[in-house]
Amino acid sequence: MQRFVRGAMLPVLIVLLWEVSSRTGLLQFESLSRPSDILAAGLGGLADGSTLLATWQTFEAALFGLLLAILVGILAGTILGLSATTERIVGPTIEAFRPIPAVAFIPLSLLLFGFGLPMEGMIVTYACVWPILLGTIHAVRGIEPRLNEVARVLELSFAARMWKIILPAALARINVGIRVAVGFALVVAVTVEIIVNPRGLGYSLILAQQSLRVDLMYAQLLWLSFVGYAINAALRNVKVSQPALLVGARP
Amino acid sequence: MSAGAARVVATPAPASAASARAALELRGVGLAFGSSADARKILDDITFDVFQGEILCLVGPSGCGKTTILRLLSGLLQPSSGEIRFEGAAIAGPSRSRAIVFQDYSNALLPWRTVAGNVALSLEARKVPPQSHGEIVSALLKKMNLQGAAGQYPSQLSGGMQQRVQIARCLAQQPKILLMDEPFGALDAMTRQALQDELLQLAAEQKMTVVFITHDLEEAIYLGDRVFVLGSNPGRIIEQIKVDLPRPRSQLETREDWRFLAHRHRLFGLLQGH
């Protein structure tokens, strides 16, 4: 309890000081609006649905990109993880792309897809595929060799081997890669929206700034913070065993 | 079986002590956790002296508070009751003159420094001029059979060698007392015996005062001038014996000596009973 009180002290103090100094004229900044105004703007945005719509749009893009990244990442990661030779030959070419930031591809994506969901989704995919790919390679390499031998003796097809043995066995570590990717997805989506894409929370942020609706801008920022925090918290509570059950592994 | 007497008659100082002066005196020392109403007593009314130049061994089952006593002696802990005096003055906190050798040696060494660097830490603390470091460190390493390991990192060493490094570092403090917390417990039997003998040799050369904690009864009898048996819940001294075996001791002969076996026989039951 004591820890909770202590932790809450700083933000409460800041908000109070901010409000008081704005009202008493101590803090006069065009770029700084009052907490009360921010709250009002925020509630307004929620009430008329614009904030929720923007949130959904961002989520859409993040989800799109994430799912594609999971598909590609796990597939490629499994192939590269299973065959060291393939990894040695194909790896360096893939690695050459790694140092390039995902955001650098925004113009290219814009060129290929124009404004909208696919363009943003592809950037998210590019950013998210790396942790998943690497996590999967690492996970597949770490599978008990005995299991592979069992698969070969049973003469399982590649697909069956993937589904019944490789994926469940590697799931825990792949999960870690996916968690990292989820963290990226939201950040990347918002970034793309701030820079170019006219949809989502990032766009409403920069729009508020450009139309000098400062209180709305801060409100959106707080909302974004809250959303990010909520997702992180949810991630922390997701158990590793649940995905395993999803894939049909025996508990 | 002697009951958990609050005060045990102090055994006379061993003849081998340089003088009968007490290096450490404990009077009615107790340690409890929690508020006075439902305090958990870890130690109860511990009273004894540690004499200059002796090797005092404390034996007892796990959880009887022997490590706690050692930490109290080092000054890392303060007693809730009673007092501890070092050379006549009350102990306020840890001090260089009371070196403590920890059981978890890998945690007690600086992994980013070489063996020489680790030993030098004590010299740096003592503000010994850097020019003399090399010489002093080499001498200590030689004494602990670590020649040649000076440039290696702790991760490259075996458990026994790491423990030797820790002891070397403690010696570099030039302590008046060496406190050892089950130092050889995590080592294999052969290394343990080698280190026991090295310790004995060291103690004899330097006329060191050593307080040695162990759960191994035979080790305690082998090493010590006196052996105290501790009981648990709460921790207290339930028996003190004087080990009248001749020095220098030998792994083979001493352990077969009838007096060794007699002591062992007598104390074995005490440990089992608690």
């Binding site: 290219l108 970034t191 701030i194 925090y229 | 000054g75």
Partner: protein, 255 residues
Amino acid sequence: MKQRAVLLNLGALAFAAGILASWQILSDARVISPIFFPPPSRALSELWARFADGSAWTSIQATSTRMFVGWCCASLLGIVLGAAIGSSRLARDYLEPTLEFVRPLPASAIIPIAILFLGLSNSMSVAVISFGAIWPVLLSSVYGFGSINNRLQEISAVLGLTRREFLRKIAIPSAMPDVLAGVRVSLAISLILAVVTEMQASLPGIGRDIFLAQRSFRSPDLYAGLILLGVIGFIVNFALAAFEKHALRWRNPYS
């Protein structure tokens, strides 16, 4: 075995060359659109031309400076704050919840505020980069300084080390692996945010070059910029990794 390694390396080279060659052929033959996927030869010649007339160097310098300044500010601040917070239980109690709340905020979301206060300027860029890059260093420093082995603290007490000596001889070396890991991630983030702020505020640098290239449909320029970024990212990361390996050589004395 060495023969096999050489063979594999050649294979990797051949694969990469093969990809480039196929791309070249398909693009020239217009099987894939040369507007969206120009032949590598054109991207490379474009790159060459920009090096020749010096514009590539200007861009590299602009982006690198931005990245380094932001990264240094973030690292220094992050380490100092992290050390202070990490060593004090009290400070952690007061500050951690707020930090936990601010952390998941994408650094790019700060851009609108930064523009409001600092305009479309280099200081805006450095401010955003610092804000984004400080988190990994801060958090790993808090962790590193907060998890110093108890034994080492006790030994420090027994040896009578002063607070300063403890910091210098024990705390900092002990926290170094974590701090360096955080610093590495910070560097990656610094590069990303440098590019982002350049695109957003049209500040000189590779990010802006790529952005403008798209606007004028000059795709070879676009790819040239991507190549440059890749090279910078690689070199910088490699250098840092080498430094890390040296500084932490006590971790792997056998390799």
